[in-house]
């Protein structure tokens, strides 16, 4: 009887261990997060405009900073504490013709300037993160200005953790209520499975 219990316990532990992704190196983690197959990079094309959202777990930001030497290993935990408490995303809009997407449907320089003004500040209130029953407004929004030289618009976003963070079976829904590109509401979703499949990072 005891032998059976031991065998089943052993099998159970083995199954649990198999279910959890094993820790990976920071460079491998970055690649994994940036792959479309991970479900953490979401894309949606509407009428020749490509919207994409990259979810950036804290480990991803730490890995990036370590890889580009803006962070040293000894400061890792201190930096983690600074970043904890938020969910981070990079939101990007790209026109298919490789031109400044803000110019799409823009008739005058005045309208273009108005759109640039909106991207610099007011756009923040048009982002929402839905987790379970919680709708979280965007807390930090930074527009990377390129003065029309880049073929895409990039915004770095942060949303405060909701009470439902890390609760079972909660998917993440990202909403942008578009006022610039004429596409309407842009919803993108990260499934529970993809959130669970995020591996841990071995920083040693």
């Amino acid at each position: 009887m005891m032998k059976r219990i031991l065998i089943f316990s052993g099998l159970g532990i083995l199954l649990l261990a198999c279910g959890r992704p094993s820790p990976v190196r920071p460079d491998v983690f970055i690649k994994k997060v940036e792959t479309a197959g991970s479900g953490l990079l979401m894309k949606k094309e509407i009428a020749n405009v490509m919207f994409s959202v990259q979810y950036k777990p804290v480990d991803y930001i730490l890995s990036k900073e370590l890889m580009n030497h803006s962070l040293i290993s000894s400061d890792l935990e201190k930096r983690r504490k600074q970043l904890d408490g938020y969910r981070y995303f990079t939101f990007r809009v790209k026109g298919k013709d490789e031109k400044d997407p803000v110019r799409i449907g823009t008739l005058s320089q005045e309208e273009y300037d108005q759109k640039q003004g909106y991207l610099s500040s007011d756009i923040q209130r048009d982002f929402l993160l839905v987790e379970g029953k919680d709708s979280v407004p965007c807390s930090i929004c930074h527009y990377e200005k390129t003065y029309g030289l880049s073929p895409f618009v990039t915004l770095v976003l942060a949303f405060k953790d909701s009470e439902n963070r890390n609760k079972e079976d909660n998917e993440l829904s990202f909403l942008y209520q578009d006022h610039v590109f004429g596409a309407g509401n842009i919803w993108m979703k990260i499934s529970t499975g993809d959130l669970k499949d995020i591996p841990t990072v071995n920083f040693n």
């Binding site: 509407i46 829904s173 578009d178 004429g182």
Partner: protein, 175 residues
């Protein structure tokens, strides 16, 4: 000898038939149709924007109703007093009312057009993606205007398309 020739002819004939069937099947375009109005009306974005525009329009209507009420009160006052100050005030309020009414009408039309454009942009994109994913050569739109007069129920993919566009709109991936 005759039996051999007959057998050979039979084999060639069967071969030709099989080739024709396979070729026609492979080359035949895959066509389906959707009831456009139904897909449009059941599209989540359309429903959301409809609620949004109705709320704004009702708020604007309330503002106009309030102005109208003030005008009516001023008109009553003028019919009793017949003074110049009330007449001036009435005229100013009337101008304000007409200006607001014009502004709201134009704005409502602009917003409505912008919302309709957004809905069609997304619907067209999802319909295109659906067609590609399902391997259709054509998906025709039935709108009751005569462009498509008849389609068998077997090639009516309205329900599947409705489901697909709403999943895609909410950020999901079709399975």
């Amino acid at each position: 000898m005759n039996k051999i020739i007959l057998g050979l002819a039979l084999v060639i004939m069967i071969g030709c038939c099989a080739f024709t069937v396979i070729y026609v099947k492979k080359g035949a375009p895959k066509i389906a149709y959707v009831e456009l109005e139904s897909v449009y009306n059941d599209f989540e974005l359309k429903k959301e924007l409809e609620v949004k525009i109705t709320t704004v329009q009702n708020l604007r209507k309330n503002i106009l109703d309030s102005l109208k009420l003030q005008l009516s009160a001023l008109s009553n006052r003028y019919s009793v007093k017949k003074d110049e100050q009330t007449a001036r005030e009435f005229e100013a309020r009337k101008q304000e009312y007409y200006q607001k009414e014009k502004e709201f009408t134009e704005n409502n039309a602009r917003t409505s057009k912008s919302y309709t454009d957004q809905i069609w942009k997304q619907l067209n994109q999802y319909a295109k993606d659906y067609g590609k994913e399902q391997g259709y050569t054509y998906i025709l739109g039935y709108d009751g205007q005569g462009a498509l007069l008849y389609g068998q129920d077997a090639v009516n993919v309205t329900d599947a398309m409705k489901k697909y566009v709403n999943i895609r709109y909410k950020g999901g991936v079709s399975k």
